[in-house]
Amino acid sequence: MDVAIVGVGLHPFGRFGDTTAIEMGAVAIRKALADAGVEWKDIEFAFAGSYEVDNPDAVVALMGLTGIPFTDVYNGCATAASALTLAANTIRLGESRLGIAVGMDKHPPGAFGADPRLYACPEWYGDVGQFVTTKFFGMKINKYMHDHGISERTLARAAAKNYRNGSLNENAFRRKPLSEDEILGSPYLNYPLTQYMFCSPDEGAAAVILCPAEDAHKYTSTPIYLRATTVRTRRLGAFEVHHPWLPIEETVGPTVDASRAAYEMAGIGPDDVDVIQLQDTDAGAEIIHLAENGFCADGDQEQLYADGATEIDGPLPVNTDGGLIANGEPVGASGLRQIHEIVLQLRGQAGDRQVPGDPRVGYTQLYGAPGTAGVSILTR
């Protein structure tokens, strides 16, 4: 059974003082309900994703205690992709006809700290200072640049593009354009990545309402169809975050596996995609993910970014809402923000950042610790 998205809602991403994650989740849900023209009592089931909130289903205290099956999901940076996949599969089971996936988070500032033993790493790995996600991203892009001839200027181009797109997005955290030279001139955090090439943890929420495709026109004249949602984890030999060692044998990362599976499920190829959302935890990740999702060959990015191919009006528009670099990463909500943007783009409702040419196919990809990826393909 095909699944349609008939409502999307977003609480802006950024810093919001005393507002709780649950309150932001409720705002996103109300916006999605209004977008679909339904009420909370019409929702038959829900999935909620969060890192900081143990029980995001507590949002029912603000929405209404209707007794629906409401399942909480946490799956690292792929939390929202998992919530969306589970919600879509629930529709496909045929027993429920209107459901919601919501993500919400409110992170303290700074890099994430955690107990390495919870990631199957030894305790000393954290003690000596190696249990740091950002240094993985530094190593991965540094090697990628060495192997495929990508320059630091291209990293800056990717980041500057996302700040520029964020300046067109009223919901973004970072709305000030930054020049390539300002980005290159900020201090290295993990060589070759500078401070302004990284996203920051922040706060926000997003929600998506789904139904069977055959019901979609009851709610909207512009349904967006979810053609594929996939989640994959790393295989032995992939170069992934939080690994004190790697085997000699090498294989592709979970993004490649999730991407190939999604294209096969959708019967759609990368050439058909009109608007793209990629996990840009850092500028290097966006560049690598462009190839990992089949949009170019390794190394082509050097020319593509120089030519402006990934700009809103280019042939490969990437992170039209500013991506993680401009929006930050409230982990539970980040992937549903990607879906929100693609839905607006495919409906032609993205305002100043609308991709020209009547886009019909959208693509989203999430990636995070300890080596989990999620991909979605959406069409009009």
């Binding site: 390495p116 000596v128 993990n190």
Partner: protein
């Protein structure tokens, strides 16, 4: 004041020629670091202790230019000293992630030869000097011919 390792079972200690302590799968030959009780390739629980080579080549690297968040236990604030981090291919058996003694990007290169050393890391609550393992640039061996230049 004594010198103590950051954890037991990570490297041979004390030793004039310290080696990392890994494990090897008796069924499929998979080598892991640190030692673990089962094999991530074949699932066997027949893992045996296996000492790793002391020299290898740098496969991937970056720098850590800011003090990591907890549970990092080393010098922080004004006492923090940036360090390098990389994966080192050891004996064509395994890639080990480790601190690098060098953190100047101009002095690090993919494929460069490195060797294991123990380095002072912090002082513990009892006043002991805690040492951990790191790799430092090594003089190229007679058969080493690595690209040292970066693009």
């Amino acid at each position: 004041m004594a010198t103590v390792p950051v954890a037991e079972g990570v490297f041979t200690f004390p030793s004039d020629d310290p080696q990392l302590i890994g494990s090897r799968c008796a069924d499929c030959g998979m080598v892991t670091f640190p030692a673990q009780g089962s094999c991530p390739r074949c699932g066997s629980t027949g893992m045996e202790e296996h000492l790793l080579a002391r020299r290898g080549s740098l496969w991937a690297w970056t720098t850590q230019s800011f003090p990591p968040p907890p549970p990092y236990a080393g010098p922080a604030g004004k006492d923090f000293v940036p360090f390098g981090v990389g994966y080192v291919v050891l004996g064509d058996e395994v890639k080990v992630e480790a601190r690098l003694t060098e953190h100047d990007p101009e002095k690090l290169a993919h494929g460069m030869e490195v060797e294991l050393v123990l380095v002072p890391f912090r002082t513990d609550d009892d006043g002991n000097e805690v040492v951990t393992f790191a790799f430092r640039p090594a003089a190229p061996g007679p058969h080493a011919a690595h690209q040292r230049g970066r693009q």
